[in-house]
Assembly symmetry: none
Homo-oligomer: 213 residues x 4
Amino acid sequence: MVKEISSSIKDESLIVKRRAQLHKGAVTLFKQKGFHRATTREIAKAAGFSIGTLYEYIRKKEDVLFLVCDAIYDEVKARMKAVIDTDTTSESSLFQAVESYFQLMDELQDEVLVLYQELKALPKDAQEYVLNKEKEMLRLFETILENSYKDVLSQNEITLISNNIFIQGQMWGFRRWVLQKEFSLEQYTQHQFNLLKSQLAHLTQIKQQGGVK
Amino acid sequence: MVKEISSSIKDESLIVKRRAQLHKGAVTLFKQKGFHRATTREIAKAAGFSIGTLYEYIRKKEDVLFLVCDAIYDEVKARMKAVIDTDTTSESSLFQAVESYFQLMDELQDEVLVLYQELKALPKDAQEYVLNKEKEMLRLFETILENSYKDVLSQNEITLISNNIFIQGQMWGFRRWVLQKEFSLEQYTQHQFNLLKSQLAHLTQIKQQGGVK
Amino acid sequence: MVKEISSSIKDESLIVKRRAQLHKGAVTLFKQKGFHRATTREIAKAAGFSIGTLYEYIRKKEDVLFLVCDAIYDEVKARMKAVIDTDTTSESSLFQAVESYFQLMDELQDEVLVLYQELKALPKDAQEYVLNKEKEMLRLFETILENSYKDVLSQNEITLISNNIFIQGQMWGFRRWVLQKEFSLEQYTQHQFNLLKSQLAHLTQIKQQGGVK
Amino acid sequence: MVKEISSSIKDESLIVKRRAQLHKGAVTLFKQKGFHRATTREIAKAAGFSIGTLYEYIRKKEDVLFLVCDAIYDEVKARMKAVIDTDTTSESSLFQAVESYFQLMDELQDEVLVLYQELKALPKDAQEYVLNKEKEMLRLFETILENSYKDVLSQNEITLISNNIFIQGQMWGFRRWVLQKEFSLEQYTQHQFNLLKSQLAHLTQIKQQGGVK
DNA sequence: TATGAATGAGTGTTCATTCAT
DNA sequence: GATGAATGAACACTCATTCAT
């Protein structure tokens, strides 16, 4: 499950430091020009070191992309974890999760855009690796929904609603040209959450009526 | 508003024919390797002609991408038009529109995938041109929602729900690795439409209660 | 000595007509873009027919260049001949020859420019063929000088002065950016001829003084 | 007035060294095949490096041509300067200048040939830049003539004679196929200088006689 | 005869990657 | 560890030439 990127450098802390530089520079660059249009020289420059040094920390240009993609979900998962661990059974916990997730998608919108548009450029095994991380993300929402709406939602509904939430978060970033003209992040979150609540409320109604009969 | 791609060929019907070949070959190829990884020679070959002939019908590699992107919404719009013109005021018309749209997204899923992942590779003016077509598509859903739920939905809600429907259709294609494992197209359509109906039903309830008071 | 360009067309008068069109269009084009930058399509268009037709009258692109180069000296020789045949022994005949020649170089300056800059693009045998025509031109001046200054000029001096006259004529065209800003053609002719006369006068003086001794 | 050619190489001394290699190889090559027929790969090879390395030192193929053209007049000017600075008022100084110039044109005849035949292939701004350098060269001769024959020659005569000297020098190279068969460089120089002296002597005579009267 | 669609070898140029310093 | 000069495979694009109609 682990996918390591080899480096000829021995000093581990240096690797971490350099790759952080690299990640930061690369995202900025990929956002502007996309992965394919960015040259390795530009990547090196954006990261603050020479082309020679770049190749001390990666083996192929693709590795840079992988580094970026890989980091995104790690960050998302790390930050979502905190929210979710607190409490996962009430409606408010769903709102908190959605809110945090949308908040995060707002902060990471450049990264997410890159992820969306360049994932396919990775070799198949790296793609699968990244998609697996995405599945873990999806499961976070599924878990919350399961816990809070056990009796109301079918498995299919849970899958679907999780997916919907998931891409609504990403949509905020990669459809910014239409959404961010009409909504602030708070408005967007509020409205989408209201729509979600309507859905769940109605489904709950139906189930309860069904249960009465 | 028109964006023509110049060709050195005089026979207009030949241009149409060759560009159809080109479109078809290019989509197949781009789906496999993406636009950037596909070479012009491969594109030519996939279309069934030589590199020289390819350049009789386009001027830049980008033009191929534009041709593909441009055609997608033209086809979508043409086919949606038929459905929508019939009737745009009942709930069933919304279902029909969604069903047709999802159906179409299923058929064109390769094209949509390409569109999503390569749009950014187009020059800015071509991007805008394509995005404008997307806006027209969005307006189709907005119109139906406006007609059927005039008193129930705010403008914001209409915008948002249209966007949600829009990307749920595309999601069926570009997230096929997760969705198409769990649902058939009919199931997906049915479930998403049910969720949508729940939403609308609940919002209608709220509005009516509000009105009663 | 003859260098024919083959054509698949039988009707000789048509060949002559088409090649005249070709010559005219090509000179205009070569003057603007040079031989190498001009494409065969452009040449055909400038001549007023299609690329297919062009290749009915030539076999290689080079042939067009040859046609142009070849025609230049033919025209120069034809027109100089008339002047020279009249009278070749007096000083006035030298002036007339120079004047006609400069006049001609003025009229044909585009062609001469092309000739100068593209001659090297011809295959070796065609180059030699054209240079031989140039030699014939040179001999015209040599003949006049020999006839009029038999006792005054050595063979070397005749060669040199002919060459000087020859290139002073061409200079008028291909150094137009400096000369034609300062002189009219008449002035240029007059001044250069005066300088030439001074030369010949002084040489005559010397020879006569030498002869006296 | 400066026209720099950009390079991605940082080591300035290396740039100078590589461009010298490039210059030398390019002249040899252009002399044989002309600029247009020479491929960049051939240019690189002639310079002794790979195609990739070539493009580290130039940005466009045209740059190679510019490099060559630019260097010619720089060299001519540098070497003429020495001669001219010594003494610019006597007849002997004119002879020395002409002799040095012809000598130089002999040494640089390949470069001059290239210059003559390919200058037009440069973009307009580079052409003007090079032609300006040529004008500076012309002014050298004008200055000497002005100093030595102030009272004898009109401005027009100075312009014209300078031009004549200028192109007679170049003629030695680009008409070598006729001139160098008949003359050694010394003979050519001597004869042309004699003709020039005759001219000036006669003009001096005329002016003096005119003055006496 | 005239046309112009088709061809593909050839060209300028880029850029990921290596390696000597 | 860091640098950046060198490399050459690979690419987009052009254009002379052919040939079926």
